[in-house]
């Protein structure tokens, strides 16, 4: 099922929670909404689900106008951040709820519940109550409950954010596997960039109710549309173009003058001698050894912005033995990796 959102806006009083949002969701794909807190991700998801009516705009599902269809007839599955399992029902009854609402046959319901609980590895928990399960298990039940009625689309609102890191990773992979298996069109809200980068076919970056950039995770990562996306996804170094760092124009208009440039820390290289042209002398301010990776923050002694010498983050594989705070290093930033983030 493919979804099209066209020129959709939503107001809460004076606040414009969604500002003229247009988006295409391909059939069978997994789309992630990513953005800082309060940027309107949940609002957009709720508009899609039918829990909220947009003030402006149209939604089409496979070319059919969705707005006149109430939430309960849209046949979507949804998983809430707080699970929202019905506390007065067993796991099996929770999963069966959507099937009963759709007036399935009793025997079909029993079979489907069994099948879907097996799919999320909870077949032996069917008769327990939600409060008797762990957070991860509860979230699996929520997923099972959403998937049981064979929805045409799956909506997930920060489904993993209430879980601890290890469970989160496990469940993340499980969601991806399930989604691949079922080929169900899925939209997932998150503010965890790692989650978004690893899971999604299409990444939608939002800010202040607007879509800032959309594209494949690789594309968004490599070519951030502006300094907001650059800072939000990965930790790109953002530098003023006035520093004179050479950059690649990668196909952009020739005459215009760039304002801000960006480079990923893994593309910032450190050497002990000034042997090439595009090197800048820097002093090591901070070293973080993260096991297989070392992150170094340097001060570029001769490059100033308004507030003083610029700091830059570099990442290198391994332990960077021998490197100490206060050492002098030469920083090289190969032009092909220096991106233009903003034009004058």
């Amino acid at each position: 099922m493919s979804l099209e959102i066209r020129n959709t806006s939503k107001f809460f009083g004076r606040l414009k929670a969604l500002d003229n949002v247009s988006l295409q969701v391909e059939s069978g794909s997994l789309v992630c909404f990513l953005g800082p807190s309060g940027c309107g991700k949940t609002t957009l998801l709720r508009v899609i689900s039918g829990l909220l009516q947009p003030d402006e705009g149209v939604l089409f599902l496979d070319g059919r106008n969705l707005l006149s269809v109430p939430a309960r007839k849209r046949n979507f599955g949804m998983v809430f951040q707080s699970y929202s399992l019905f506390p007065n029902m067993t796991i099996a009854a929770n999963v069966a709820y959507g099937l009963e609402s759709r007036k399935w046959q009793k025997s079909d319901i029993a079979e489907r519940v069994k099948e879907i609980l097996f799919l999320v590895h909870l077949e032996d928990q069917a008769l327990k109550y939600p409060h008797q399960l762990s957070g991860g298990q509860q979230q699996r039940v929520a997923l099972a409950r959403a998937l049981a009625p064979k929805p045409s689309m799956l909506l997930l609102d920060e489904p993993l954010s209430a879980l601890d890191a290890k469970v989160r990773e496990e469940l993340r992979d499980e969601i991806k596997t399930l989604q691949n298996q079922l080929r169900i069109t899925t939209i997932m809200v998150t503010h965890d960039q790692e989650e978004a980068l690893t899971l999604s076919d299409k990444l939608v970056v939002m800010c202040d109710g607007k879509i800032i950039q959309e594209g494949s995770p690789m594309d968004v990562y490599q070519n951030p549309a502006n300094s907001f996306v650059a800072r939000f996804i990965g930790r790109m170094n953002v530098l003023p173009a006035s520093t004179g760092i050479p950059y690649s124009r990668n196909g952009h208009t020739k005459g215009a003058v760039p304002n801000l440039l960006g480079i990923r820390p893994e593309h910032v290289y450190l050497t002990t001698n000034a042997d090439s042209e595009s090197v800048f002398k820097g002093t090591v301010m901070l070293i973080r050894r993260l096991g297989n990776l070392t992150r170094v923050i340097l001060r570029l002694d001769h490059i100033q912005n308004g507030k003083g010498p610029i700091r830059i983050t570099a990442e290198m594989p391994g332990q960077a033995d021998g490197l100490m705070i206060g050492h002098t290093r030469y920083v090289s930033m190969p032009p092909p990796f220096v991106r233009i983030l903003e034009w004058e």
Partner: protein
């Protein structure tokens, strides 16, 4: 071109949205709002308007004559003075004593706290004039004290009213303080101790300020209860009259409705003011407890614990003495002359026999049913429907808190004792008495229900909708199963209050619809103290049995935390 297409699209879409809105769900919402609002108009505002109109009604049209007649007399100022004297003194004493009692049960290590708590709450299960009844049995002309010591002491009058009123309102104040003192942030107390503050200084700088809203709330609640109470002053007041008893005397004694309504209006003013102030002050006291508050740890302290043990014991003895003597007297042959055991007063060979007790139970059950439906629906509509009417509806739901029971009852006579009004069909029936009780206690029932509704996350409703559940299915499968313990509590609340209340129903009853609490008053008035006591005991027995059954039911299904006593 692209722009004009999308603009047209959005226009089209707006029109489409509007038609989609005026479907079943919209109509259902309008219907539900009406279902909540109309009865409130009919059974609260309409009677009030009538009573207001009647107070201006004179022989030749409308005028201020009634007010001039009443307000111009010396007697009125005496009544006003008496009412305020009794009420203010009672309020002061009660707030002080109840604070100490709540402090003892929440912030000390007095042994047997739960027993003391329960004793403090027992008066809620008895008819509201049982305190005066017990006080007379103890210290009246024929009371135990005079009989034992051969004295001629009489408690009738000012002090009689004050003592019985203090005992009457004590549990209400205690409940408020108890809830407030239970919520404590231990970190504040630790930092106070680390800063070197002694217990007294800690109390003055931490405890008292953090409970100041409870102090205000209790003050206003107690004030309202005492100034509108007429059972206790009727029984133990003697020649000492107050505004509430005057309303009764004017209406029942002299059938002078106009003067009765004028005094009723006078009574309405301070009560409405007190309720309004309380609501305004209460609005701003959210977030008293921060998210990181740690629970209170109470260290033993011999002097403090000893003092409060004596303190709560003394108060409990007073409460038990007054109630105990009533129970005792009901089982004697002829109080105070023959104290041998007898069940003859339980034969109820008085005017209407045992019927008033049955009437009370019927009324209570009806009030429970109607009350839980009305307040449950009101809570649902105001909490869940997100209509334009939420705030006015909420206000309408709590307005009854500002109306004295006698005023409401009087309003019912004026509004409904009129064949052209459809409600006349049930005038003079137990049903109307039940309805009167429901709307008299509507505010409290509504607040209990809506607080609990707030705690049930609305994402359950949303989850149900996404899963294809209709509105009805959501209510039946999710909302009701999650709400039933609270709703049972609300039903018990209406039953309990309906059994013991006097003021709202006193004007509505006829000989055939007399309820037990009124019987107690009438029998007491006639000097039939033994039978009056027996009726009081029966009321308590019924209330306690219902509470016990409800408690067992709740505990069986794992809802220990739902409190039934309010």
């Amino acid at each position: 071109m692209g722009i004009s297409i999308s603009a047209a699209g959005s226009l089209f879409n707006r029109a489409k949205n509007r038609t989609a809105e005026i479907d079943g769900e919209f109509l259902l919402k309008v219907f539900a709002v009406g279902l909540v609002a109309l009865p409130l108009f009919l059974f609260v505002l309409y009677p009030l308007i009538h009573i207001l109109g009647r107070s201006f009604q004179t022989a030749d049209g409308l005028g201020l004559e009634n007010y001039i007649t009443v307000l111009g007399t010396r007697r009125f100022f005496l009544l006003l003075y008496n009412s305020f004297a009794v009420t203010l003194l009672t309020t002061g004493i009660t707030v002080f004593l109840a604070y100490g009692f709540a402090f003892a049960t929440q912030r000390t290590r007095v042994p047997g706290k739960n027993v003391f708590r329960l004793i403090a709450l027992i008066p809620l299960f008895a008819p509201s004039l049982v305190q005066a009844q017990g006080l007379l049995l103890l210290m009246g002309r024929n009371g135990i004290i005079n009989r034992t010591f051969g004295t001629e002491y009489s408690i009738y009058g000012f002090w009689g009213i004050v003592i019985s009123s203090v005992l009457y309102v004590f549990p209400y104040a205690f409940l408020i303080f108890s809830a407030s003192l239970a919520a404590a942030d231990n970190r504040l107390y630790e930092s106070s101790r680390i800063l070197g503050a002694g217990p007294f200084r800690t109390f003055m700088t931490v405890t008292l300020p953090s409970t100041r809203f409870a102090v205000m709330a209790a003050t206003f609640v107690v004030f309202t209860l005492v100034i509108t109470d007429f059972g206790n002053p009727m029984v133990v007041g003697g020649d000492y009259n107050v505004l509430a008893t005057e309303v009764y005397n004017q209406v029942i004694g002299q059938a002078n409705f106009e003067l009765g309504t004028v005094i009723g209006m006078v009574l309405l003013l301070p009560v409405a003011a007190a309720v309004a102030i309380e609501k305004v002050l209460n609005k701003n006291h959210y977030g008293l407890l921060s998210e990181h508050a740690t629970p209170m740890v109470i260290e033993p302290h011999h002097l403090r614990d000893g003092f409060f043990a004596v303190y709560v014991t003394l108060i409990c003895l007073c409460i038990l003495a007054v109630l105990g003597i009533v129970i005792f007297a009901s089982f004697t042959h002829l109080w105070p002359y023959r104290l041998d055991f007898s069940l003859r007063h339980y034969a109820f060979d008085v005017q209407n026999g045992i019927q008033p007790l049955y009437n009370s139970i019927y009324t209570g059950l009806m009030a429970a049913g109607i009350g839980v439906t009305a307040t449950g629906l009101a809570a649902y509509v105001t909490e869940r429907f997100n209509t334009f009417f939420d705030t006015p509806l909420y206000f309408l739901c709590i307005v009854p808190a500002a109306v004295p029971g006698m005023v409401l009852g009087l309003g019912y006579i004026m509004a409904f004792n009129n064949p052209s009004n459809p409600v006349y069909a049930i005038y003079g029936s137990l049903l109307l008495i039940a309805i009167c009780n429901v709307y008299y206690y509507h505010a409290q029932g509504f607040l209990i229900a809506s607080t609990s509704m707030k705690q049930i996350s609305s994402t359950y409703d949303e989850a149900s909708a996404i899963l294809g559940g209709t509105f009805i299915r959501t209510v039946r499968k999710i909302t009701l199963p999650l709400m039933w313990p609270t709703l049972l509590g609300v039903a018990v609340f209406f039953f309990m209050r309906s059994m013991v209340t006097l003021s709202a129903v006193i004007f509505l009853m006829t000989p055939s619809t007399q309820v037990a609490a009124v019987s107690v008053l009438l029998l007491e008035d006639r000097g039939a103290v033994n039978q009056a006591a027996a009726f009081s005991v029966c009321i308590m027995a019924v209330v306690v049995s219902v509470l016990l059954v409800a408690r067992i039911l709740l505990n069986t299904f794992g809802h220990r935390h739902i409190s039934l006593i309010r």
